[in-house]
C-alpha cells in the first residue's frame, strides 16, 4: 500500500476515536458537579435571569437533543458560547491555540537541540565527567517541578540579571499585524526583524522551562539506545573496516537509535500541551492550557469540550506524523 492509502486509512480510523472522545467529554462536561448558570451570573441573579440564560444555552432541552444541536453547530466550526468570556469559544481558541502551539513547538525544538547532543556525548564518552554531568542534569530536569524552575529562572535570569523579559509574548511597545497568531511567524511575514527577535526573546524562558523534562528524557533515551546500538556487531564491522568514528556515530548508530526517541517526542507533544498549564500561568502566556483549567473550575462546559477536542486532535496528528517519520528513518517500515 502506498503513502496516500496509508494516510486515508489512518484518517478513517481516527474518526471513531474522535467521535468517542467527543461523546465522552460532552457527557462529562455536563454532569460535572456545579451549576454553571449561577456561577456565570453571580450570586444575586434572579430566577428570571437564570431561566433566560438556561434557555439561551439550550440547557432546558433533553440531553440527546443538546448533543444533536451541538453536532450540528460543530459541523459549522461553532463550539458554542463560553460562560466565562461571554463570546464564542471558537473566537477564544483562535487567539489561544497559536500561542500554545508556538510555545510547545519551541519546547520540542529545544528538546531536540539540547537533548540529542547531550545523549550522544553521554553515550560516546560513557562514564566520563561529561556523561556524569549530563546524567545529573537529566535526572534533575525530570525531577524538578516546572513551575518552581520557571519562577527561579524568572527571578535570576530575568529580574536579577535582566537578560530576559519576566512575562508575556512580546514587548508592550511591539505590535505586528496578526495573520497566523504565531508571533515569530507573523513578524517574519511582516519582514519585521526586531519584532521577530523580541518574540524569540520572550519565548526563550517559558519554552526552556517547559522543555526541561523532555530534554532530560530525550537525553537519557538517546544515551541508552546509542549505547545499545554501539555494542552491535555491525558497528564493530564498520570499525574494523576503518571508518572514521564520526561517520559511524552519525551515519549508522544515531539513525538506528532514533526510532524510540521519535516515539517519545511524538507523545511528548500532547503531554507538553497539557503540561503547558503551569508554564502559562507563571509566564502569563495566553495559552489554551491555562484557559482549559479555568474553564473546568468555572464549569464552562462548551470551553471544556472544545479544549479537550483540540488537545485530542493534537495527539492524533502528532502520532500520525511520528508514524510517517518512522518510514523516513527506517526503510524497513512499510505502510501496510
Amino acid at each position: 500500500m502506498d503513502l496516500a492509502g496509508f494516510l486515508i486509512r489512518r484518517f478513517i480510523e481516527a474518526i471513531p476515536t474522535f467521535f468517542g472522545l467527543l461523546v465522552l467529554i460532552f457527557l462529562i462536561a455536563r454532569v460535572m458537579p456545579g451549576d454553571p448558570i449561577r456561577l456565570a451570573l453571580g450570586p444575586e441573579a434572579t430566577q428570571a435571569q437564570i431561566e433566560a440564560f438556561r434557555r439561551e444555552l439550550g440547557l432546558d432541552l433533553p440531553l440527546w437533543l443538546q448533543f444533536a444541536t451541538y453536532l450540528q453547530n460543530l459541523s459549522r466550526g461553532d463550539f458554542g458560547i463560553s460562560l466565562r468570556t461571554h463570546r464564542s469559544v471558537s473566537e477564544d481558541l483562535r487567539e489561544l491555540v497559536p500561542a500554545t502551539l508556538e510555545l510547545v513547538g519551541s519546547a520540542l525544538l529545544l528538546s531536540v537541540v539540547f537533548g540529542l547532543p547531550a545523549g550522544i556525548l553521554s553515550a560516546i564518552y560513557r562514564n566520563s565527567w561529561i556523561d556524569a554531568s549530563a546524567r545529573l542534569a537529566a535526572v534533575s530536569g525530570v525531577a524538578l517541578p516546572r513551575f518552581w524552575v520557571g519562577i527561579l529562572l524568572q527571578i535570576f535570569l530575568a529580574y536579577r540579571l535582566g537578560l530576559f523579559p519576566i512575562i508575556g509574548r512580546s514587548d508592550l511597545g511591539v505590535s505586528v499585524s496578526q495573520l497566523t497568531g504565531f508571533r515569530t511567524v507573523d513578524a517574519l511575514l511582516a519582514g519585521n526583524m526586531p519584532a521577530f527577535l523580541d518574540a524569540v526573546w520572550h519565548l526563550a524562558l517559558p519554552a526552556f522551562t517547559l522543555a526541561l523534562p523532555t530534554i532530560a528524557q530525550v537525553a537519557r533515551l538517546v544515551r541508552a539506545s546509542m549505547i545499545e546500538v554501539l555494542g552491535q556487531p555491525y558497528i564493530l564491522v564498520h570499525r574494523a573496516y576503518g571508518l572514521p568514528p564520526r561517520r559511524i556515530v552519525y551515519r549508522f548508530a544515531l539513525r538506528n537509535s532514533l526510532t524510540s526517541t521519535l516515539t517519545l517526542i511524538g507523545l511528548s507533544f500532547g503531554a507538553l500541551i497539557e503540561n503547558a498549564f503551569l508554564v502559562e500561568v507563571v509566564f502569563s502566556w495566553p495559552g489554551i492550557s491555562a484557559y482549559g483549567a479555568q474553564a473546568v473550575l468555572a464549569k464552562d462546559f462548551n470551553a471544556v469540550v472544545a479544549v479537550t477536542l483540540v488537545i485530542g486532535l493534537a495527539f492524533l496528528v502528532a502520532n500520525l506524523i511520528v508514524d510517517l517519520l518512522y518510514g523516513l528513518l527506517d526503510p524497513r517500515v512499510r505502510y501496510d
Binding site: 451570573l41 468570556t85 524568572q154 508575556g168 502569563s284 473550575l297
Partner: protein, 531 residues
C-alpha cells in the same frame, strides 16, 4: 561614544519616553468581559469603570461611598418614592466625538434589562423597559414599579453606552429589530465616554488603554495617560514585577503574608483599610440541630475571634453583624448607634456555650456538623480548623470539606443540598446597607451562596420590605438598623471579620483611595505619578 554606549543611551531615552505617564497594573484574574451590561467580577468592573461613565459615581474624592453626581448632574424623586428624574450633564462626549444624551441613558438601561446579565438583577422586576423615558435631550425619568430605597445607589452600576455606535454595529440576534443588541460588538470594542479609550484587549493577558483627550472631566499634568492592565496569575511573578518597577500596582487578592513582605520592600507602599467585605461562617437555619437558635448561639460563643483576627487575618476589624462597618459609617452611623440596636460583635465564652447546648438538650458528642469551604481557600481552611478545635471543646464534632467553588454554588441552590455550615466572603456590590441585609436575609434571595443560612423571620422580612419602600432617608436607615439588630440576635452566621483591604503600589503613585466599593478604587483617572 562607542556604538554600545550609544545603544544603551538610546535604550534609556526610549525607556523613559515609554514610561512617561504610563501605568502598569497587575491583576490575578482574567478580564472576562468589557461589556458594561455583562460585567460581574472585579477585573471586568475595572475595565468598565475606566472606559465608561456611570450615571452616578460614589463620592470617592470626599472619602465617601454614597452616590454623587456624574453623568447625572442632579436628580429629584417624587414623594411616593417611585419616580426619579435625572438631569444629564451637557457636553459629555463619547470617544467618537458625539454627545452623550438622555437617549443613550435610556438605551443603556433597556439593553441591560433585555440581556439579563451582569448587574441587571438590580432592576429586573423593579423597572419595566417602557418606564425609562427621555423627556428631552438632557432629562431622563425612571418610573419604578414599587419604591426601592437604594435605587440611586444602584445606579453606580449603570454605565452609559453610545447608542448610535452600537446601533451601527448590530449583528443578527434574538432581540428583533435590535438584533444582538451589540453583544458581539461590545465583546471586543468599547462605546463609552470614560477617561480612557480602548487600545488593545487580549482578554487573558492584557488590556491597554490610553487617555481620551476630550474627556469632560479635563486633564491635569502627571495623570496616568496610558494604562497597561496585565493579567498575571502567579503571585511570585507579581511580586517580582512590582519590585523591579515593571509594574506600578498589584491587586488586592494576594495573601496577607505577601503584603507583609511587600511592606518591607523599599519603594513599595501597602495601603491597608478595613474593607466593605464580610467574612462569615453561615449556618443553615432550616436543618436540625442548627434550626435551634440555642445551638447556633453555642457555636458563635465557642469560636475564638481574637486568634482568628490576629493570626489568620493578620489584622482585621471584627465584624458586627452582616453589614460591613464602613457601609454603616458611610451613612453617618456611629459605633454607639450600632450598640443601641444590638448590632454587636460576638465574643467567646465556652462556659456559656456549653450551657446553651445543654439547654437545647444536646449532649457532648451527639452532634456532628459539616463545614464546607472553597478549594484553595487558605483562610477559610484555617478558620475551619480553628472552629473545629473550638467546637471540640464543647463536644461538637466538625467535619471540614474542601469543595470546588462551582460545587458550593450548586449546593446552595436547593434546600436539600445546602450544607450545614459554609465559610463565605461577601463583598458589597452597591453602596448601601441593603446589600448585606435584604440581599442575604430576605427569603426571596434564597438559593445563592450568599444565603446558605436560609434565614427567615417574619418580623425581619417585614422590616426589610418597609425599609425598601421608605422614602424618608432617616426612617429608612432606622429600619435597616432595627432589622440588622434582630438578625444579629438570631445568629444565622458566625460573623467573624471585615478583613483589611490591602493593595500594594510603587511609592511614586499618588491619589489612591479606597472607600469600600468593589472596583472603584482602581480608577486610573484618579492617580498621578510623581516621577
Amino acid at each position: 561614544m562607542g556604538l554600545r554606549q550609544r545603544l544603551v543611551a538610546l535604550g534609556i531615552v526610549l525607556g523613559i519616553a515609554f514610561a512617561q505617564g504610563s501605568f502598569t497594573y497587575l491583576e490575578g484574574q482574567e478580564i472576562s468581559t468589557i461589556d458594561p451590561a455583562k460585567h460581574t467580577d472585579e477585573s471586568s468592573l475595572h475595565a468598565v469603570i475606566n472606559m465608561y461613565d456611570p450615571l452616578v459615581y460614589p463620592r470617592i474624592r470626599e472619602g465617601l461611598m454614597e452616590p454623587g453626581p456624574h453623568v447625572a448632574e442632579s436628580w429629584t424623586s417624587s414623594s411616593n418614592g417611585r419616580t426619579f428624574t435625572f438631569k444629564i450633564r451637557r457636553g459629555i462626549l463619547f470617544h467618537d466625538g458625539s454627545e452623550l444624551t438622555a437617549d443613550d441613558v435610556v438605551f443603556s438601561l433597556q439593553r441591560m434589562l433585555a440581556l439579563k446579565k451582569g448587574f441587571s438583577w438590580l432592576w429586573l422586576g423593579l423597572l419595566d423597559p417602557g418606564n425609562v423615558r427621555a423627556v428631552d435631550r438632557y432629562t431622563v425619568v425612571f418610573q419604578l414599579n414599587e419604591p426601592f430605597a437604594p435605587f440611586v445607589s444602584t445606579l453606580t452600576q449603570l454605565f452609559i453606552v453610545n447608542k448610535k455606535l452600537v446601533m451601527a454595529n448590530l449583528k443578527p440576534g434574538p432581540y428583533g429589530a435590535l438584533g444582538d443588541y451589540g453583544e458581539a460588538f461590545l465583546a471586543n470594542a468599547e462605546a463609552g465616554s470614560g477617561p480612557y479609550q480602548l487600545v488593545r484587549y487580549e482578554r487573558s493577558t492584557l488590556l491597554e488603554m490610553q487617555r481620551f483627550p476630550r474627556y469632560w472631566g479635563g486633564w491635569k499634568p502627571k495623570q496616568v495617560e496610558r494604562v497597561y492592565y496585565r493579567v498575571v496569575k502567579e503571585e511570585a511573578t507579581m511580586r517580582t514585577l512590582l519590585a523591579s518597577g515593571q509594574a506600578d500596582m498589584i491587586d488586592q487578592w494576594r495573601t496577607p503574608q505577601t503584603y507583609e513582605a511587600l511592606k518591607r520592600t523599599p519603594g513599595i507602599v501597602v495601603d491597608e483599610k478595613p474593607s466593605a467585605q464580610l467574612f462569615h461562617v453561615q449556618m443553615n437555619t432550616q436543618r436540625p440541630p442548627l434550626n435551634d437558635v440555642r445551638v447556633r448561639r453555642a457555636i458563635a460563643l465557642a469560636f475564638d475571634y481574637n486568634t482568628a483576627l490576629r493570626q489568620i487575618f493578620l489584622g482585621a476589624v471584627q465584624a458586627r453583624g452582616p453589614v460591613p462597618l464602613i457601609a454603616w459609617q458611610a451613612y453617618g452611623v456611629k459605633l454607639e448607634d450600632l450598640d443601641k440596636y444590638g448590632i454587636v460583635a460576638y465574643r467567646q465564652d465556652l462556659e456559656a456555650a456549653r450551657k446553651e447546648l445543654a439547654a437545647a438538650g444536646i449532649r457532648p458528642g451527639q452532634v456532628t456538623l459539616t463545614y464546607v469551604y472553597p478549594e484553595g481557600g487558605n483562610i477559610q481552611r484555617q478558620v475551619g480548623l480553628l472552629l473545629q478545635s473550638n467546637l471540640n471543646q464543647i463536644g461538637v464534632r466538625l467535619n471540614l470539606q474542601e469543595l470546588p467553588w462551582a460545587r458550593i454554588v450548586e449546593m446552595a441552590a436547593s434546600p436539600e443540598s445546602t450544607p450545614d455550615m459554609a465559610a463565605i466572603y461577601d463583598t458589597l456590590k452597591y453602596p448601601h446597607p441593603d446589600s448585606h441585609t435584604y440581599g442575604m436575609y430576605h427569603p426571596s434571595a434564597w438559593g445563592s451562596y450568599r444565603t446558605i443560612s436560609r434565614y427567615s423571620s417574619g418580623v425581619v422580612t417585614a422590616l426589610l420590605e418597609r425599609a425598601r419602600r421608605s422614602t424618608d432617608p432617616k426612617e429608612q436607615l432606622e429600619l435597616y438598623l432595627r432589622a440588622t439588630g434582630l438578625i444579629v440576635k438570631d445568629y444565622p452566621s458566625v460573623y467573624i471579620a471585615n478583613p483589611l483591604h490591602r493593595i500594594a503600589f510603587r511609592d511614586d503613585v499618588k491619589g489612591y483611595r479606597y472607600v469600600g466599593l468593589l472596583g472603584y478604587d482602581v480608577a486610573f483617572y484618579d492617580f498621578t505619578i510623581e516621577r
